[in-house]
Amino acid sequence: MGYKTINEANEAVNQKIIAAAPFLTDVVPAKSVIPELEEHVLLHAGPPIKYENMTDPMQGSCVGAILFEGWAEDEEGARELLENNKITFIPCHHVNAVGPMGGITSPNMPVLVVVNKENGNEAYCQMNEGIGAVLRFGAYNEQVINRLHWMKDVLGPVLSKALKAMEGGLNVNVLIAKAIAMGDEFHQRNIAASLAFLKEVAPIISALEDVEKEKRTEVIQFLADTDQFFLNVAMATGKAMMDAAATIGHGTVVTAMCRNGENFGIRIAGMGDEWFTAPVNTPQGLYFTGYSAEDANTDIGDSAITETMGVGGVAMIAAPAVTRFVGSGGFNDALETSNQMTEIYIGENPNFAIPTWDFKGACLGLDARKVVETGITPVINTGIAHKIAGYGQIGAGTVNPPIECFEKAITAYAEKLGFKE
């Protein structure tokens, strides 16, 4: 199909996002859906990065994943494999996946499967481990590894059974629409969606006869405890939507944003799989008692896929409760943030109406041209990791992508279309 102008192409991309029909259908071992995940292969967040350039938490996650897989006996062994380049790294985004924070995903970790029924593509994301010492922030102590095993052996299979019991899986758009009206923005705040998810699966899990009662209770307790469980569902959903939208193959709408702690990378519809990168910023925000900006790790994780689809920090107005947590003022500041975002997002998503925004739809279609034109970059809500592996989350805040990514992307696209200086 041909488009006469870039506006037309961008509109087609937006229509593809609106039309998306994401369903959460299963939880499976990563290697069963990602053939690239062979022995000694790990996925990571963000655009491609070498092990030695990873920040400490991401390296810590690698150690944890190796211990979980049993490729090494102990930390020393794991470090040896990593430092001698015995581990192959692939960005999550290259294999239909996304990963929060470090995004380190190994073959046997369970992943959520979201199918975009409109386009027929799938996307994957590992499950949220809760808060405190967790792998995604670089922790790899015994408790972390044990939890990962429990997720593989209990949580994954039980959720898989529950999801399969739903005909066609769980309609994610419906959940998102519900939760956005309950004050979630799906990056920093997912509590409403997580509860709504629990509401859907709890009766089914309770009735699973082939699962021991103890395990059912454990799973339900875990879901009830994990406020951010839905974040990873939202991420897989974003990936499934944006990958489908990218098939339009034209225009300047951003189809992926992610960070690896070293670089921020974006893709635009007209440039396919090419990454446009620039050094990441460090998040600004509020720190838990005892920590300060000096302890903060640089921006990291694939979770900015939520802002790519038009929620997260962009939809700050949907979640006024978050604004204080991320240190950006009150309701009016949230309103201002979202209003400002309408200058760089070219549409509204009618599927996700925001009551606190007078039922305006969430932002849709981040136009790289508009970012460069206005100098306004999208606001990304984010957790802040300690720069030393294992400390975990030390605060929350907002971060903006470096504008150079967008400048590089539109310049490359213009050149592709015949622009000469």
Partner: protein, 257 residues
């Protein structure tokens, strides 16, 4: 506008003598403080930070409505079991009285200690309240000999916030004492005498006087009935650091040598 209260603390109720005048001292997100001529303080507001013996509990809507009408410095007069303000009347005649929760014997110290292990207090090492200092105080508290005035003066009123960190830690230590007594009574007397001096904020003083009598906020007494990690986390969420500071005090008290 006539507004209903949801519940009232016993300390607050004792202060609400017919005809007595209170002034609004400070207004916060979650409620406001009034003080009488002796600077005795009552908090009116929601229970997001727990309920207090010196508190009057309002539901969020009531709090919001009332807050729109009041300003610091306004007066309330107690009339016919109402707190009367020139634009508001807050009724407390038929309200329920908050339980005191002095059933410290119900505390399960072992589970509490076990669950507290999941919480890291490491960040205190780089502050004025490093663990050696706190445990030294706790150690001395057990021994009736000596006078701890200097030590108390160090803690009282020290640190960030409306209830300075040092005070919150002391409240935590006192709670540790009530569930597992260890403080020699002369030290409690010294502390009681010291907090009559202007060493800390009125609010903080209030918490400390209550704590000396074994009266704590519901977020703290909750630990007696449910020692789970959830209760601990819920206490941690109080204030910006107060909850965690209190918890640190309890932790240090329970882990004394």
């Amino acid at each position: 506008m006539i507004l209903e209260t949801s519940a009232i603390g016993s300390v607050a109720l004792e202060l609400l003598i017919e005809g007595k005048k209170f002034t609004i001292h400070s207004i916060f997100e979650k409620g406001w403080n009034i003080i009488d001529c002796n600077e005795e303080l009552i908090f009116l507001g929601t229970d997001e930070n727990g309920t207090f013996p010196f508190g009057i509990l309002l539901d969020p809507q009531t709090k919001q409505k009332a807050k729109a009408e009041i300003e610091a410095g306004d007066t309330f007069i107690v009339r016919n079991k109402h707190l009367s303000h020139n634009r508001l009347d807050i009724k407390f005649d038929n309200t329920k009285i908050l339980p005191l929760n002095t059933d410290f014997e119900h505390a399960n110290i072992n589970i509490l200690k076990e669950n507290m292990q999941q919480i890291s207090f490491e960040s205190y090492e780089s502050t004025d309240f490093e663990s050696i200092r706190v445990s030294e105080l706790i150690c001395k508290l057990q021994d009736a000999s000596g006078n701890l005035e200097d030590e108390f003066r160090y803690f009282i009123g020290r640190g960030q916030g409306l209830t300075p960190t040092g005070d919150d830690i002391l409240v935590g230590i006192l709670y540790g004492h009530f569930i597992n007594p260890f403080i020699a009574s002369n030290h409690l007397k010294t502390l009681g005498k010291l907090i009559e001096e202007p060493l800390t904020t009125i609010v903080s003083k209030r918490f400390l006087t209550c704590a000396l009598e074994g009266l704590f906020s519901s977020k703290i007494t909750q630990l007696q009935h449910d020692s789970s990690l959830e209760s601990l986390k819920s206490l941690m969420k109080v204030g910006s650091s107060s909850g965690k500071d209190t918890l640190y005090g309890i932790w240090m008290a329970l882990n004394k040598e």
